[in-house]
Symmetry: C2
Subunit: 339 residues, 2 copies
């Protein structure tokens, strides 16, 4: 238990308020006194009592807006649960989390939602941003207005975020390659399914994957990249066409949504191959249980939601700015027995 402000004040021969001003940068303090107190706090190893802070600043209301794609997707359900949990941890403060979740957003819709949140007076926003210049502009405008933004799950370039929270896609691609090699005996013909090549995350994942194949596994080849728009039916059609055209494929990797449709195609063709999928959806769980999928890679969706809100709360409440502006979640490898 560290020293208190009161004690510092006594030692410095000033009042508690002055110490408060110095330590919280509220200004209006003699420069010399300021230095003296800062130094004192430093040498005495002062750390603020977080409980007292919480109690005292209870009336400081903060509003955080959230825009995540939540409906009917277990991944985002978990993100939402993480947000919930973080909000819970912030109870005791006057924080209000305004969630706007929609199944699938157009750029227009997302822009509109952002404007709405700004109007409602949020001081911070957690968002899974669409990779579009208009969103970049909009976010930068809001940031310029003093609204803090954290990007969750999806990263886009050109925005001055407080932080990005989500998967390190390159690394997850590399891990996928490593795993793919392990389960296929270092030799395979691979179909790599992504949502869209223009999606930053999916593309990076593919790059990471390729890098590792090139460096370590000369006998593993990508026979093709399939884009399924994260859609089960497109997935069904395209996978089925692809496998007909490339019957030597013996490993299919779903680095995207739509694994359900793709796997159904494989089963309907009675095609024999190994499968790796991403995200622990209900269907992927079942496929795992039935040994259809070898393993599923997860990206800690709960943690993503949790950390996004935590970072924002810490910033707004305690003025903490995260030292690195990227918070990477782990890529978890889930096998049947781990369910």
């Amino acid at each position: 238990m560290s020293i208190t402000m009161q004690e510092l004040a006594y030692m410095a021969g000033v009042s508690r308020s002055t110490v408060d001003r110095v330590l919280n940068g509220r200004g209006r303090v003699n420069a010399e006194t300021e230095q003296r107190i800062k130094h004192l706090a430093e040498t005495m190893g002062y750390t603020p009592n977080i409980a007292a802070k919480a109690l005292a600043s209870k009336h400081k209301a903060i509003k955080i807006g959230c825009i995540i794609n939540a409906v009917g997707n277990i991944f985002f359900d978990e993100v939402a649960a993480g947000i919930e949990a973080a909000a819970e941890e912030l109870s005791g403060f006057d924080v209000q989390i305004i969630t706007r979740d929609v199944a699938k957003l157009s750029v227009d819709q997302q822009t509109r939602l952002l404007d709405q949140l700004a109007e409602e007076g949020v001081q911070a926003i957690a968002i899974t941003p669409i990779n579009d210049p208009r969103i970049v502009d909009k976010l930068n405008t809001l940031i310029a207005r003093g609204i803090q933004v954290v990007a969750v799950t999806a990263d886009i370039a050109g925005v001055n975020y407080l932080s990005y929270v989500g998967c390190n896609h390159i690394k997850s691609g590399r891990i996928t390659a490593n795993l793919a090699a392990m389960i296929s005996g270092w030799s395979a013909e691979i179909a790599f399914v992504v949502g869209s090549k223009t999606l930053l995350g999916h593309d990076q994942r593919l790059s990471g994957f390729k890098e590792v194949l090139k460096t370590y596994y000369p006998d593993m080849h990508i026979s093709g990249v399939i884009e399924n728009q994260d859609d089960d039916f497109i997935s069904y059609t395209k996978v089925s066409q692809f496998l007909t055209a490339h019957p030597d494929t013996n490993l299919v990797i779903f680095a995207a949504g739509g694994s359900h449709g793709g796997i159904r195609a494989i089963q309907d063709m009675s095609y024999h191959c190994k499968i790796i999928a991403f995200d622990l959806t209900e269907q992927n769980k079942q496929y795992l249980e039935q040994n259809v999928i070898s393993c599923v890679l997860c990206q800690e969706p709960f943690t993503q939601g949790f950390q996004a809100i935590k970072i924002l709360g810490d910033h707004l409440l305690f003025g903490k700015t995260p030292e690195k502006n990227r918070f990477y979640t782990k890529t978890e490898i889930v096998v049947r027995e781990a369910l």
Copy 2:
């Protein structure tokens, strides 16, 4: 932000203290009043303000003793780090963590340390207990005296713990089997290395492993179980002898310490086989990087230490008793690219 005690008191027409007595079970309160207040709190959805609680009970000093095998073992270093982190989170309360860490403990030594801690007046103990009847007795005696105990990492039977925090060994064994099958194409001759068959955890892990082989993988056989006492040199000798005697072994699983010695033996013999090891020691990391080990299984040592203290703190400080008295950590699968 929920309703406060003060408000409840006003609504019930009593004083704050009475509400406090009721809600914290301090007794000395009219049964009828008690019911009324309880009901009121319930219907109004009262939740205590944790920050205020922390502030007010600052002077309530608590002492927690820790006995873990810490010296020179990265696994327990991580456990210790978790303990540290939890203690940090409890700063703001007057908690004192007394750590007694020793390299390797005899039953006598552990008993003595327990007595010492009791004498120092700890209210709770986190311990990695030795599986011995004397320890069981000693712990139960302390528990009878009102000292709360949490078992970390190692579970032993017959003790009325507040909770066990650690790996689900059976499950980790099952996962190991699953993984082993994946990387060896569902067919292998396996050497399974444990510290000691009499160690509850290691034995359970072996059971889980066997179960899965039996159910799912008829072509995978355990050609032998090696006991290495978690010692690198015993490991070296025994593994080397075993492989000479069983030259068809093509997968070695180190479900114990001493993987370094065992792997060295394999390398010295220029023996070719796949390897799975437990715990991310410095050496295992290197072997992973060099593709000597296929993958390493981890058991979240940090989380183990963290949760042990958290459970104890929550109990002592807030009277929370965990609903389930087993907290299982995940079995993490780590591949080279994940390092």
